[in-house]
Amino acid sequence: MKTPSLRSVRTLAGVVFLLSLLAGARAAPAPSSVEPAAPPIPVVMRFENFGEKDGLPSHKVHSILKAGDGRLWLGTNDGLCVREADGRFRTYGTKDGLSHGTVLGIAEDPRTGDLWLATLQGLSRFSGGHFTVFTQTNSGLPNNVVYAVAVVDGTIWAATSAGTGAYDPGTKAWKLYDQNNTIMNEPWCYGIAANEGVIYIGVWAGGIVEHDPRTGSFKAYRDPDGDFHIQLMPDSGPVVDVTSGVACDEGILWQASYFGLSRYDTRRATWRTWVQDKTPLLSNFINTVFARGRVAWLATDRGASVTDGDSWVNYTVDEAGRGVVRVHRPGREPETRLMTTALADPFVTAIWADDHEAWFATSNGVSHGIFAPPDAGNITANP
Amino acid sequence: MSLRTGVVLGAALVLAGCHPMAPEGSLVATQTPVSGAAAAGPTVLDVRYPAGSRVVLMSPPFQPDAVQVLSGGLVAAGDPRVSWDGRWVYFAGKSSVEADWQIYRVNAGGGRPQRVTAMPGGAMDPALAAHEELVFSSPVPAAGRLWSTNTPASLYGQLPDREAERLTYSPDSAAGSTVLRDGRVLFVTTKPRDDRMAPPHLSLYTINNNGTEVTAYAGQDDGMTMVRRPRELGDGRVAFLTARGEDPAALDRAECVRSSDPFGSRGDLLAFRDKRCRSVEPLPGGDLLACLETRDATAMMDRAAVYRVAAEANAIGAPLFDDPRWSTIEATAVVARPAPAGHTSAVKPGATHGTLFCLDVNRSRRPAAGDNPARAAALRVFALMDSGQVRPVGQVPVDADGSVIVQLPAGVPLGLDTLDAAGNVLRHQPAFIWLRPGENRACIGCHEPRNHGPRNVRPLAATHGPAHLDFADVPTHAATAKP
């Protein structure tokens, strides 16, 4: 909503929130300056929560996407749900042609406007209000259990429990990537990301497989110590091989896992890793990661985080159900503050964000994170 | 002239002599004597065509003294029909007072009539189908008993040099047939009824020329009480003569329906209603040929003459042909027309049953008895015996979607009841429809909507085989299609 009145309200609220946040930070001085060239880490000012009472078909939301036309799409445990312009939710289920009620991933083809949906019973295309279903029996889809989907230059990439499939809508041909024809050590693929034409496949116990379709090359990024209990070699590779999700933007690849977070700068070929007890990482149990610019949004079992790797803003829910935000800046003490609103549930499954808002899929509905205005003192990321 | 040309011309003359052609523009007509005519026998045709009635050929300029009798040697004749190639005239005739009426054939240009049927009880109402198949009704019921006789007339089809094959098995007579361009036989019979003593409600039905797919064509839903002589016009209409009330001698009125909507388009064919119309036939070019009765002041009786009526005429003009000595009650053009389509028969001679398939017995244009909202659980079938007795054939369950497929005896009028789970009758169809041996007969509902295609659904009944009933002891005419 960008009406002047609402914007004014948001700005005012954001200023109040930030002031209260800073006032509550006992040892932390106010930011000394804002670096204009640095990208901001957005800060959620407040949450608006939506659940079954608002029309969601299920309290469990697995995936979330705001499409190019501005409509919000939710992949729930019981169908695909869209938030229409009037704010009402409309659900499409199996009776409408969706391949399965559980929608684990949503991707939009920016060229066609079609949505591609990863479900537990195949891949569905949602186009013009109608579904087309691709299954392992009626198409070249590797497996019906599709965990993630991405659209890269018109090709549909589907991460499944039996490899990753790439569907070319132009030729109607499928390519299959698994342990038999790539360096993938096992077929269980959990995530798909792409950057500058390169595909990154998150493999459950195989780290990350990088594939350049233009050259046909493959490269695997594996945990250098090979142990998911301890981290003997930090910042030298994926924190663990057990990948639960991958995301990439502006050359920064993020690996989510249930044992920590990894970041790979594809241009500098450098790694950084985080585990929860030694870093601001909220939880090692990261369901998915969403990348925008050089910032990652982490959906964890204890809340949500946004980070550029140096600064962190973590959102949790305390035992009383109140929202808590904790801000970590390099070289400063963390700042913690209660929020007037809280995430719908601390178990966050997926996040979508842009420069104006963030949406959080949780196991108890969906939360709309409304950002504080940038001029109200957003935390900046290091360049 | 070369020898070759001479031979060809000679052969043509010989052939022409064997098969004289009627002059262009000729009509063939039925004439009955104006006075002194008496029924030559006890049948309905004897009343319609009294002794002395004749079939004649008349040619332009249609002078009364220039007609050519085509039914020479017969004591009475009438109801001429011209073959599709325009070369033959078929008509009903009687060789002697005692003889049965049979169908005769004569060269359109004249000649000696040849009897082409030998039906016990006689034959009447000839019509021509594809492949020179003759369609007619037999036997000829007694006068005044056409629609109430215990031995109703059935339609038969007879290909050249073949025996006649029975086509209809309706409880009441099937008569007045004509063959539509699409190959179906259009005929008149009574609307199904349980009370055999009730006044008949005549209407139009069709069958394929092998007797399959008996279907209501027009008139079942309105007050068309007496109907006869249906004829397909060339402009998409079907004409017929009607009479209000039960008196067949009452004023005959020419009406029509549009074949595009036969149940919703009934109307007058001719704008003038004050004259009794004895026949109406299409003419090439779209005009009509009508035989209309006028009062003959001299003879103090009604007498029919032949009129050419423009399709949109509002008034009748001078008669095309009128002979004061005769009442010209029927006339048709002697002209070649495109033959109707044929029908490749799926009838299996020797089979004793056909298969009835209904898409949804609950689909109907009528409410269920007592507005019972229940869905049908079973279909009960009964047959009407020659004795007039109704005999149960059996009962079969109906699938959940209302579909049913059941094998039933061929060659016997069948009636149907749909029953709810408690056995209450939801809808009742008096015995009327029949199956030919091996026929797969389909309908979309019970008292289904008229002229409707089926909904495109896969009937549950199609997922399993047809229901079988034990009807071995139901006497049928399936194996006795021959007269």
Binding site: - | G342, N456, G465
Partner: protein
């Protein structure tokens, strides 16, 4: 020579000869049974496997080409008519005042669909054979530009959007739609369509583009088929709606109705799920018009009458004043005139139930059909002059364009393009193929189920021994030359047998097609080449690596571990090249619950990628399903050792045949 000597000499010769014959016969039987992997196979001719060459088949031979008119485009000033002549690789320009052809231009690749820009200065042609769009200047009919699009484009529409000019091209062979930008000419996006997108029209306000898809899809062989009207935003090519035409298909024409928010689709209402016990009352199919309103509501109305039918609807146009629509019936050689005011009045009073029931009510059309215009053979594309006073009818099989006065509905002239090819038996056969007069009441033609000779993608339940026990997938007629016998049970040795009395009995319900016409029909069918499934740019190119892997799998004689694959279950044994059929009956484990036999004719595989669904009853929606859902104990080739990738490879190879 004495008799004794003769006997002495002849006896061993006869014995040797008899021995040679018997031995040869025995050897041949052994050879055949071994090679076929069928120990009980009856003796068949050597021609089943040998001496077969696609080069010798009828469809591979040169054939006459005709001036068959395809798409029509009228110049904005109403003076010129542009006519696509796809069979001649030409576009003709005709003067509408003199009704004469003034110019012809060579345009390679089978120009079929035509469109003009608003000024009439540029003519756009969708060239179906070369998968491209050509841009011509109408000033000189010279080609200015060309761009590749999807497979077999059939139509084209031009429109102006706030983002620039657009061309919308339905690609019937690749089931997608090319959205092109002009200045420069480039493809913006190629969204997926339904199946067989065929015709395109721009809405009256220019904000939407509607693409009619000719073939229906269905989720299962006994579920209701539905075809799609794909609705695009021409600005970005995004699909904004996919309207559903339930139980309808073969939509070959679409038009916007000026002054009304309607799109009209000519369509066939198909009733394939109902056993074909009869054909009267449109039991198998009937012709209709689908009215798409802006709110997305679609109403199907009949164009047929209770006892008269006007099948194979094709082109549809609406008058500029929005009062009338004209629909070509290619099977009845008629153009039907619809009074849209009357139609609107009927719609206004019709409740939901009446609208739903309308298409099945064969007596309804009298409410709005006000004329039937007789035309030459196989009217397809239609056009109107800008003033709406002249209707132009492409008489495809008469090589002419009929000009009809829209006030009197009477022809006022004809643009002669060619001689009709009456001396060409293939063309004569095509006339038989397209004419509905050979079915009861003229309800349908061969083309009604075999658009372009291919398949409509449906299974029909033909009247067999009983009711409901003969569900059969429609098989393509393309590429069938040399693949006898025909019919799924392989009982028809010739096409004449296939399409003769038996067909008249079970389907046409009328007299059989007369022998001379039957021969012509067979000639036409035998000259239908296999459906092209590869893009034009790939013709003659080597297989891709995946296709090559699939090819090796197709011809595999052993598993990767060296285990031999039984001869009877190698792909190549039954689907023997070059026709990819051994023309024998096989049991591949697909006997259905009500099938009387599990043995079916081995289909050829030429163009198999375009003939979905598969198996005798059409139960397999895709090629993949043959070896996933419907493979039984490796009966249909040994596939149990295949990986998913190998299956994908095989499918890719099959699509190249």
């Amino acid at each position: 020579m004495s008799l004794r000597k003769i006997i002495l000499v002849a006896t061993p010769v006869v014995l040797l000869g008899a021995g040679a014959v018997l031995g040869g016969h025995s050897f041949l039987r052994h050879h055949e049974r071994k090679r076929a992997g069928n120990a009980t196979m009856p003796f068949v001719s050597c021609y089943h496997c040998h001496f077969v060459s696609t080069e010798k088949l009828a469809w591979a031979q040169p054939r006459p080409h005709h001036d068959a008119p395809g798409g029509l485009a009228v110049s904005p000033d109403g003076r010129k008519l542009y006519i696509a002549l796809d069979d001649k690789d030409e576009i003709a320009e005709a003067d509408l005042a003199t009704l004469t052809v003034t110019r012809r231009a060579k345009v390679a690749g089978g120009p079929f669909g035509l469109a003009l820009d608003a000024t009439g200065e540029r003519l756009f042609a969708a060239c179906g054979q070369h998968d491209r769009v050509a841009v011509l200047a109408t000033s000189d009919l010279k080609e200015q530009a060309s761009i590749a699009v999807g497979i077999r484009p059939t139509d084209i529409a031009w429109c102006r959007t706030p983002a620039g000019e657009r061309l919308i091209v339905p690609n019937s062979g690749s089931d997608d739609i090319s959205v092109l930008a002009l200045q420069p000419l480039r493809e913006l996006v190629r969204p997926a369509a339904g199946r067989d997108p065929y015709a395109v029209a721009v809405s009256g306000d220019g904000e939407r583009v509607y693409v009619a898809n000719r073939r229906a899809v269905h989720e299962g062989v006994v579920s209701q088929p539905a075809s799609e009207v794909t609705v695009l935003d021409p600005v970005n090519g995004h699909v904004v709606d996919r309207e559903t035409l339930h139980s309808a298909h073969l939509a070959e024409g679409i038009t916007a109705v000026p002054r009304r928010d309607w799109m009209l689709n000519s369509m066939v209402r198909v009733r394939n799920l109902v056993p074909i016990t009869q054909v009267k009352d449109g039991w198998v199919m009937s012709t209709g018009l689908a009215i798409s309103e802006r709110n997305g509501e679609v109403t199907q109305i009949p164009l047929d009458e209770a006892n008269a039918y006007f099948p194979d609807p094709s082109g549809v146009v609406a008058s500029p004043d929005g009062h009338r629509a004209y629909v070509a019936s290619g099977g009845a050689d008629v153009v039907t005139v619809v009074d849209l005011d009357r139609l609107e009045a009927w719609l206004a009073q019709a409740d939901v139930a009446a609208r739903s029931d309308a298409i099945d009510n064969m007596a309804l059309s009298g409410r709005y059909v006000i004329g039937r215009i007789r035309t030459g053979c196989n009217p397809r594309h239609l056009a109107l002059t800008p003033d709406g006073r002249r209707l132009l009818v492409a008489e495809r099989l008469d090589d002419g364009v009929l000009v009809v006065d829209t006030t009197s509905f009477r022809p006022v002239g004809r643009i002669v393009l060619g001689d009709g090819g009456t001396d060409d038996p293939i063309r004569q056969g095509e006339r038989v193929f397209t004419r509905a007069r050979y079915s009861f009441q003229g309800q349908f033609s061969c083309r009604s189920c075999h658009p372009d000779g291919g398949v409509d993608g449906l299974a029909y339940d033909f009247d067999g021994a009983g009711v409901g026990d003969n569900l059969l997938d429609n098989r393509s007629l393309c590429g069938v030359a040399g693949t006898a016998p025909f019919k799924w049970n392989g009982k028809n040795p010739t096409l004449q047998f296939q399409d003769g009395p038996r067909f008249a009995r079970v389907l046409m319900k009328t007299d059989p097609i007369p022998d001379p016409q039957l021969d012509e029909l067979a000639t036409f069918i035998q000259h239908q080449p296999p459906t092209r499934t590869l893009p034009w740019s790939r013709i003659g190119r080597p297989l891709t690596p995946a296709e090559e892997r699939g090819r090796r799998l197709f011809f595999a004689k052993q598993r990767p571990d060296g285990t031999p694959i039984p001869l009877a279950r190698q792909c190549q044994t039954c689907h023997r090249p070059p026709l990819y059929t051994d023309r024998l009956l096989r049991d591949v484990g697909t006997k259905g619950a009500r099938d009387s036999s599990g043995v079916f004719d081995t289909p050829h595989l030429l163009g198999i990628g375009a003939s979905a669904p598969y198996l005798h009853d059409g139960r397999a929606a895709t090629l993949e399903e043959l070896w996933t859902t419907y493979q039984v104990n490796d009966s249909h080739g040994v596939s149990s050792y295949w990986s998913k990738e190998q299956l994908n490879d095989l499918v890719e190879y099959l699509k190249t045949l």
